[in-house]
């Protein structure tokens, strides 16, 4: 067996955030509570001079910038490492990159990676907290936490909240994390999309998930609508015509009428107007899409403070 460096260990280091699935409910609630106390404009320098590395193997606007602003608001030093322009391009392995970043003094690694489980691999070989900023089709826990934070700004609790998640569920790490989080606290979730994007097996993710192919059925009487970005190349791969998809699953103002009058419309971004939703819905009164992005900063401040043991 390859000898691991002296700081290698097998359990994820304390403070890591790898996924929602295995996170204790109290931990989730504590994080949300902490996030509500975080104000990027009036933050105490809890993480002064701590070094946070943002290791991004995939493109990102929201997640990357909000982690960076969250870290800097708390007084931390950040470094961005991307696959292009780093030794990753030269074929360095994920673990060797991790050891290198540890050696230059990283206190936390925030990682986004196209392969499911990449943060887990890193966490099982390093002694510093690893934060999953999205791993393949697996999980995107900070997004689920900021979505939960957002929902609680508009709704009293998750209990018996009806949620519809519409679109490409199969490829969506956001959906997996949100399903784990929301059902844990009693929300009722309906997944909606064509079989290619919502395979029957999706209902096994957590108990009580419902699947429907009809957007009208999914929307009737719901409190929260979560839309997902649609990648055109995936439509092509699944041999679905774009026009058909839009006709059946696009979120329009007319369809929004089916939901509760105070229903909110969410989307992890980036949104593609005219595809999964109309501009009218995106900019409408019920849309909280911009607010989600805004809430990403305090949520990620809480995640980083917890990672470094400064959650109080």
């Amino acid at each position: 067996m390859q000898r691991l460096p002296f700081f290698a260990m097998n359990k994820p280091p304390r403070g890591s955030l790898l996924g929602i699935e295995h996170m204790a409910s109290e931990e989730i609630l504590d994080l949300l509570k902490l996030a509500r106390r975080m104000n990027p404009l009036k933050a105490r320098p809890l993480l002064r001079n701590r070094r946070i590395v943002l290791l991004f193997y995939e493109a990102s606007t929201r997640t990357r910038s909000s982690f960076e602003i969250a870290a800097k608001s708390l007084g931390a030093i950040t470094t961005l490492v991307q696959s292009s322009g780093s030794s990753i391009e030269k074929g360095e392995s994920l673990l060797d990159t991790g050891y290198t970043l540890r050696a230059v003094g990283a206190d936390v690694i925030v990682i986004r990676h196209p392969s499911a489980g990449a943060p887990h691999l890193m966490a099982s070989h390093l002694d510093i907290p690893v934060i999953n900023a999205g791993d393949g089709m697996h999980e995107h826990p900070s997004q689920a936490l900021l979505d939960a934070f957002t929902i609680l700004k508009y709704k009293r609790s998750f209990k018996d909240l009806h949620v519809a998640i519409i679109g490409d569920i199969y490829h969506s790490r956001v959906t997996r994390s949100n399903c784990h989080l929301l059902t844990r606290f009693g929300a009722k979730i309906t997944l909606c999309g064509p079989p290619e994007f919502v395979p029957e097996i999706a209902s096994t993710l957590v108990p009580g998930l419902r699947i429907t192919r009809h957007i009208e059925e999914a929307l009737r009487g719901v409190d929260v609508i979560m839309l997902l970005r649609l990648q055109k190349e995936r439509l092509a791969g699944q041999k679905i015509r774009l026009q058909d998809y839009i006709a059946h699953y696009q979120m329009t103002a007319a369809r929004l009428q089916l939901a509760k009058r105070d229903a909110i419309v969410m989307h992890p971004g980036p949104i593609i107007r005219g595809l999964e939703l109309t501009a009218e819905v995106a900019d409408g009164a019920q849309s909280v899409i911009v607010d989600e992005v805004h809430n990403g900063v305090p949520t990620r401040m809480a995640i980083l403070a917890r990672a470094l043991g400064k959650a109080k």
């Binding site: 067996m1 390859q2 699935e21 392995s93 994920l94 673990l95 990676h113 392969s115 499911a116 489980g117 990449a118 887990h120 691999l121 070989h125 791993d135 393949g136 089709m137 697996h138 999980e139 199969y170 790490r173 997996r176 395979p199 097996i201 999706a202 096994t204 993710l205």
Partner: protein, 437 residues
């Protein structure tokens, strides 16, 4: 002048053991005398008169014909950082195997006579018998058949493109036809790779939860189904399904067997032991191809092992270096080592937990595989056969520690597992090739 040490083994009397030799229909206390590399005599306790230079006290132990593994990757030529013939056969001996059939997906692919001869050369320092399986198509690229006649003449016992399927219908049909003429089995790695691109585990609730692309069981079953149909149509053709892992593929094999086609199949210890959900949180030691399947697939395999549908247990021993496994799950190499844990898993899982008789388990390791590839003089300890024997203690409890493995690689999911049943000695050509301490 001293002769080479390897030329002759001293005669060996295995005394006091309980012989299980399913092909000879023996399940009784027997002494066995091995001389000049052959079985000289098998007789009830204390009946053998002839003297022996060495004795092995087998009291309380099971003596069986030497185990045969139809499916190992010993990585030579070309990948000796993973395994060599010498290290792989040392692991085989420690696992009770006296013969292994090596897969041709090396670097380069074993698709010529020269490489078959090279594999069998004494310079490889093999501790057990090595039977090369040659590539079925040139470079295992799937487009043109290799020269079966020459390969068989050089010592290849079967042909396969293992690691990849023989996908093309016409090529598969041609391979079975030529195999039929030569009485040479065609071994299929049954995977419709058009359905499994970028997949890293079985398709099911676990793959969905982990966000990993899943291999549908249909990708295996559809190929087995086609191949069985071809084998039924081509008289005397011999089809062997490697590492069968799904209930649906078993149905196709049963169909072929009922129709009296010469269809055989093997199952690995990990497929009768583990499930897809054991992958846990992306443990690459649970990543292999075919992948660990669902509970209903495993159940069907257990039934087929018991009822005779499965012909052999084969390990698919697939060593990989740490740097090929300690990577992202989707990038990690497929395969696990298996030679040293096969018997222990069979006794622990099949015999202790599922009450499959020891005689059937021995059959799956001996006469079963010997028949699949026509390994004459092996798989049974009758007089005149090769002096290959496996001696084991079916009740011994022990813990497998990968750190002590004889393989060059460490990629096993069974490190630290507690087993019942342990190999005590392995006799190859009348000589003790392995003895546990």
């Amino acid at each position: 002048m001293p002769t080479k040490a390897t030329t002759r083994a001293p005669s060996l009397l295995i005394k006091g053991g309980h012989l299980i030799d399913p092909a000879a229909k023996i399940n009784a206390a027997m002494d066995i005398l091995l001389r000049d590399g052959r079985v000289a005599e098998v007789a009830p306790p204390n009946k053998i008169r002839a003297g022996a230079e060495e004795k092995f006290d087998a009291r309380g132990l099971i003596v069986a014909p030497g185990f045969i593994d139809l499916h190992v990757h010993l990585r030579e030529p070309g990948q000796s950082y993973k395994e060599t013939i010498a290290s792989g056969t040392a692991a085989a001996a420690a696992g009770g195997f006296t013969a292994v059939c090596t897969m041709p997906n090396t670097v380069p692919v074993v698709d010529t006579e020269d490489w078959v001869v090279w594999l069998r050369s004494p310079e490889r320092s093999a501790l057990v018998n090595v039977f090369p399986i040659a590539a079925a198509t040139r470079g295992s690229r799937g487009s043109a058949l290799t020269d079966f006649v020459t390969l068989q003449h050089a010592g290849a016992v079967a042909v396969t493109d293992d690691g990849k399927p023989i996908l093309d219908d016409e090529i598969m049909r041609a391979a079975l036809r030529l195999g039929a003429e030569l009485n040479l089995p065609v071994v299929q790695h049954a995977e419709d790779t058009r359905l499994t691109e970028n997949c890293s585990m079985h398709e099911g609730p676990t793959s969905f939860r982990l966000g990993l692309r899943g291999m549908t069981s249909a990708a295996e079953a559809s190929i087995v189904d086609r191949d069985v149909t071809l084998a039924q149509q081509i008289r005397e053709s011999r089809l062997h399904v490697a590492h069968l892992s799904t209930a649906d593929a078993l149905k196709a094999v049963r169909r072929g067997k009922r129709a009296k086609a010469r269809v055989t199949c093997e199952v690995t210890p990990h497929h009768f032991t583990l499930l897809d959900e054991n992958v846990g949180e992306y443990d690459t030691n649970f990543k292999m191809n075919p992948p660990l399947r669902s509970a209903s697939d495993r159940e069907a395999i257990l039934v087929a092992l018991a009822d005779g549908t499965v012909d052999a247990i084969a390990t698919d021993h697939a060593p990989h270096a740490a740097h090929e496994k300690q990577v992202e799950f989707e990038r990690a190499a497929f395969g696990i080592t298996g030679l040293e844990t096969a018997l222990a898993l069979a006794i622990t899982k099949l015999h202790r937990d599922h009450k499959i008789p020891l005689t059937r388990i021995v059959e799956l390791f001996t006469s079963g595989p010997a028949r699949v590839f026509d390994l004459r003089g092996r798989g049974s300890l009758v007089k005149g056969n090769f002096a290959d024997a496996t001696i084991f203690d079916p009740k011994k409890r022990w813990t497998f520690e990968v750190a002590k493995s004889r393989s060059l690689s460490r990629n096993t999911p069974f490190d630290g597992w507690q087993f019942t049943g342990k190999v005590v000695a392995t006799v190859v050509g009348g000589k003790i090739a392995y003895r546990s301490n």
